[in-house]
Symmetry: C2
Subunit: 194 residues, 2 copies
Amino acid sequence: MRSAEFDRSHVLEQAMHTFMEHGYAKASMQKLTQATGLHPGSIYCAFGSKKGLFIEAVSFYHQQKLQAFESLFSEDQPVLSSLKELLANTVQECVQNTCAKVCLLTRSLNEIEGQDPEIARLIATNLQQIELSLGEQIARAQRQGEAISDEEPLALARFITMGVYGMRTYAFTNADQSILEQMATQLLRAIEKH
Amino acid sequence: MRSAEFDRSHVLEQAMHTFMEHGYAKASMQKLTQATGLHPGSIYCAFGSKKGLFIEAVSFYHQQKLQAFESLFSEDQPVLSSLKELLANTVQECVQNTCAKVCLLTRSLNEIEGQDPEIARLIATNLQQIELSLGEQIARAQRQGEAISDEEPLALARFITMGVYGMRTYAFTNADQSILEQMATQLLRAIEKH
DNA sequence: GATATACTTGAATGTTCATTCAAGTGCCCT
DNA sequence: AGGGCACTTGAATGAACATTCAAGTATATC
């Protein structure tokens, strides 16, 4: 036996960046080999295909985001504070001038539409998982008597989720921080109790 | 002299559908020649390049949407009714199982990010124009004493715009009509007076 | 240290792509 | 009626693409 010479996480990190920067179609194998330092043969050995690498990169991204989400919504803090922070972080990402401004999931979902149902389903599932987690947090906020609307928690979670998707696309037309912050405020106000 | 044998509008309509169905990158010249009935030479003669055809198709789409917008917001109807109708129409588009479910502008903006600033700027300008028109209508609603928030009209317009972008991406994860309708209701409620 | 077993290498493959262009065709103006 | 011009045609072009594979190389085991 002989173990692989590359660090899989590191390779996925670089591939993820390449897909975020160029999108799926325009991230050529040449760019991917340059970014990861792997030769084509190694990528095909380790991931099967460009699509296989993409799927793993998407999952990698998803895991990162999910982890960030869960560490943000810790038990000993009001849910609404965490949610505010989540939106503030999203705004910060959107105004960056790096590939960090794009959400690999939403961007790829837009790109892939009508092309590859398998990838589309995977991304949709990933996004729904975060939406579901948010729903649980909102339910907790209601139980804890925070100043939040008493609508169905999942409906509120969907609304916030939709808002985040909208902000990300909106930021492509106008990446103005104060405008995005205002949107975040409007979104929060919409789910507050009144 | 000799006039072109094809109808430019018809060609743009078909090209538009092709780009909506496959996206910019995956709409190959072969697909475009089949859809438009034009030969490559004719396309290059009439539009210069695939990019040129895309830019005109995007403008064509934009004009259609702008026209639909302006005929929806007629003077003799409350703005809030028209807005409700606009959102209902958006929901209807999103739940279709044809290429009509995608907005060529927002989808392409997502796809093109980081690839072609010229196209990105064009699309952003188009989207901002609709946002601006919406702002004018919201200002009119306020003047006419409709039950709408007294925040800055442009801020309200941005919020609705963001909501529509968000719904379109959300629909890719879950094209459930009742869920999208609920989102539309939530969006409207957020800009109502209370 | 020898051998087997994987992993690595990167040039080669065949396909698909956007684009070009020279030949062909029909229309308009005189 | 006929000459000239612009549009049409579609095969040809070369670049870029994802993918493959045979040769090379390092490591683990004995």
